[in-house]
């Protein structure tokens, strides 16, 4: 049996599902903080095999979705700056900003390029020395090391036409903000796999220690997620909240020190604006002063006027876990992946998109 099949094996899955069904937890709400998990849970049909008393919630784990319209409007303004090639990840293009999306900006003739990594943006800068290549950096701890590496490379090679507009965010301040709001009952957390591979599983110890919430770090295969869910339910059942690392084949307690070291060398913490949450102190990554040459916000003078969201869009509540996508009045009607009103319906990791693609009309 191949390595991958081990984590998709139906017999093993059935055994864990039986165990989950036999647990006497009473009503329990389990939240995941990673867009990759949201999609994996829907794709594998995990929600449909859970007993009724287990509620699976999605938190603010989709990086495209938590990007505020103010930040997106800034990217739009940068893209319209003469000489600029704006680069970003594909999912960002369709998100409707206050007035327009990056895709609409591109259709007007401005240059907006999709890249798969910050390093691709750096390569584009080398290929177009006469243009200013700006990378609109969204993402969590997982993508930050590549952004840091690109800045360090640009500095080492003396690339002068490359800069970053960083709206990257940290998951832990986001999780803490959500818990502090107290709007939604969270009895257990499925800890993000890729993020934790960078920051380490120990970073999530605050959940059991400060909030009495059990946490299990999980991978992305069906068995990973089932095992993590079962571990959380067991801890809840035994009233012994702790940290369990169900993804130890990838995640170490201390994380990837080298990668995070590069992030800390290039970026410092700053207040960041999150969709659905507003400003959260020390939750964003901005370039340190010594890397100001690569800071698009300092290199270009762009001003953004009153940013607004579509009045019918309730992505903010979806991101806080207080509203499920089908409860939104425009879900699947005025708001679809083809003509989205908010980012949660656009992003491949958004919960509205996941519901729409995998669970719509299932009831």
């Amino acid at each position: 049996m191949s390595v991958l099949h081990q984590f998709r094996d139906s017999t093993r899955a059935q055994a864990i599902i039986e165990r989950i069904r036999g647990r006497s937890t009473g009503d329990i709400s389990i939240m995941e903080f990673c867009g990759g998990h949201t999609v994996a849970i829907f794709r594998s049909g995990i929600r449909t095999v859970m007993p009724e008393h287990v509620r699976m919630l999605s938190g603010p784990g989709c990086p495209v979705c938590v990007t505020s319209n103010g930040d997106l409007d800034r990217a739009v303004a940068l893209a319209k700056t003469p000489g600029v090639i704006l680069t970003t990840y594909g999912d960002m293009l369709k998100v409707p900003g206050s007035r327009e999306s990056l895709m609409q900006v591109r259709a007007q003739g401005y240059q907006v390029e999709i890249v798969y990594s910050t390093l691709d943006a750096l390569k584009l800068a080398a290929a177009h020395p006469d243009r200013e290549v700006v990378f609109f950096a969204i993402g969590f701890e997982t993508t930050a090391p590549a952004a840091a590496a690109a800045v360090l490379q640009a500095q080492a090679k003396g690339v002068r036409n490359f800069s970053i507009c960083s709206v990257m965010k940290l998951t832990i301040p986001g999780a803490k903000a959500l818990l502090a709001m107290g709007e939604v009952k969270v009895d257990g957390v499925i800890g993000p796999g890729h993020v934790s591979s960078i920051i380490g599983s120990d970073a999530w110890r605050f959940l059991p220690e400060e909030y009495d919430i059990p946490v299990a770090i999980s991978g992305f295969e069906p068995l990973d997620l089932l095992a993590a869910t079962d571990a959380i339910m067991q801890m809840h059942e035994e009233k012994r909240p702790a940290l369990v690392n169900s993804y130890s084949r990838v995640v170490r307690p201390e994380g990837n020190r080298k990668a995070w070291g590069a992030v800390e060398r290039v970026f410092s913490l700053a207040e960041a604006s999150w969709r659905g949450f507003g400003s959260i102190p020390e939750s964003g990554l901005v370039l340190r002063e010594e890397f100001s040459d690569f800071n698009a916000d300092l290199r270009f003078d762009v001003t953004v006027e009153d940013s607004t969201e579509h009045p019918a869009c309730r992505c903010g509540e979806v991101l806080r876990g207080v509203l499920t996508p089908p409860e939104c009045s425009v879900f699947g009607t005025a708001c679809t992946p083809e003509s989205p009103l908010g980012p949660c319906m656009v992003s491949s990791e958004g919960s509205c998109a996941a519901y729409y693609h995998y669970q719509r009309q299932m009831a």
Binding site: S2, L4, H5, R8, D9, S10, A13, Q14, I17, C34, G35, G36, F42, R43, S44, G45, I46, R47, T48, V49, G61, C62, P63, V64, Y89, G90, D91, K94, Y116, I138, G139, F140, T142, T143, H194, V195, P222, L223, L226, P337, E338, S348, E349, Y356, H357, Y358, Q359, R360, Q361, M362
Partner: protein, 336 residues
């Protein structure tokens, strides 16, 4: 050929174009219809309804593991005829060449088309060539059209799926999509995934030798089996249920999809067909399919149901259920 590259004059209608046709295309595709050397091919009508189809090929890269734009152009149009129950009679080939195209590459592609046409026994009976300025197309675009004859008694239609029918597939899915995507992104695997491009008309013929009551046949090319099944569910106003565990996907394709962030359900296939047949005929049709090399991996992947018309559902490996939607937009790799 005298020139190592395609020049605009190769499409001008003058002597260079004449040479290109006489020295490259005609010898390669030679057959009595082409030798008529008229503005059209004249083909005898053996009786039955005429099936007519066209498709344009713009694949990039033009050569990929297991095939090229040439094989695709021949097989793709043959298959569009075959899945309608038609016996292919002949193909047209329209080539749009970019100025500066490497002549050796063109010769290679034409040679592949010749082989594909000969192996399938479907002649290329008429053709056209144009050359456009550098930058106006990407190396080579090919349009092929095909005509075929549908014998009486055969009624294959996307509207014909009935509750209780079995959903069959002729072999593994996702191979072509992964072969092209991995080549495009410069990813190499220890066991390379090769395109499944192949003609399916002989396979269809052997299926009809079992029964004429095949309800629907489609080749799941662009958009993959997810899109094809959704089209059928919509046209026939039925629900379709498939089993994830039953889907034939090679370990190499599964691994590559995980790495590249692709979903095999949405990847193009170029040598596979989906058949929807009455349950009573399913085993016999499957046996006939497995008797041909193109159908060696044929299997049953699901069933047609009455409830939730228009919706395709999948029973997942862990025993859950989810919808299999049509693809919206393009597939993008994960970013976090």
């Amino acid at each position: 050929m005298k020139h190592s590259q395609i020049l605009l004059a190769h499409g001008s209608g003058g002597s260079m174009m004449h040479d290109l046709i006489q020295e490259l295309f005609l010898p390669a595709f030679d057959n009595p219809f082409l030798r008529q050397a008229n503005d059209q091919a004249l083909i005898d009508n053996p009786g039955g309804r005429i099936a007519f189809t066209t498709d344009s090929y713009v694949v990039q890269p033009v050569i990929f593991p297991g095939g090229s734009i040439g094989e695709l152009a021949v097989h793709g149009t043959i298959n569009d005829l075959a899945v309608g129950g038609a016996r292919p009679l002949g193909l047209s080939v329209g080539m749009i060449l970019e100025e500066g195209l490497d002549m050796a590459l063109l010769e290679d592609i034409v040679g592949r088309m010749k082989n594909a046409s000969e192996e399938a026994g479907v002649p290329i009976v008429t053709g056209d060539t144009k050359v456009v300025e550098r930058g106006s197309c990407d190396k080579i675009f090919i349009n092929t059209s095909g005509i075929g004859i549908v014998p009486g008694g055969i009624d294959i239609d996307g509207k014909n799926a009935r509750p209780g029918d079995a959903v069959l597939i002729s072999g593994s899915i996702g191979d072509h999509g992964v072969a092209v995507m991995s080549e495009r992104r410069g990813v190499q695997f220890s066991t390379p995934v090769v395109s499944d491009t192949q003609p399916l008309h002989q396979l269809v013929k052997s299926m009809f030798s079992v029964t004429h009551s095949i309800h629907v046949m489609r080749d799941p090319t662009r958009g993959g089996i997810a899109t094809t099944l959704n089209e059928i569910a919509g046209q026939s106003r039925v629900g379709i249920e498939i089993d994830e565990e039953a889907l034939p996907i090679s370990p190499e394709v599964t691994g590559a999809c995980d790495l590249l962030g692709l979903d095999p359900l949405y990847l193009a296939n170029e040598g596979k067909l989906i058949a929807i047949v009455p349950e009573a005929q399913a085993d016999g049709v499957l046996e006939a399919m497995r008797g041909r090399p193109e159908g060696a991996g044929a299997c049953r992947i699901g069933r047609v149901v009455e409830d939730r018309p228009g919706i395709v559902r999948m029973r997942t490996g862990i025993g859950g259920t989810r919808i299999v939607n049509v693809l919206s937009g393009e597939m993008l790799p994960r970013i976090c």
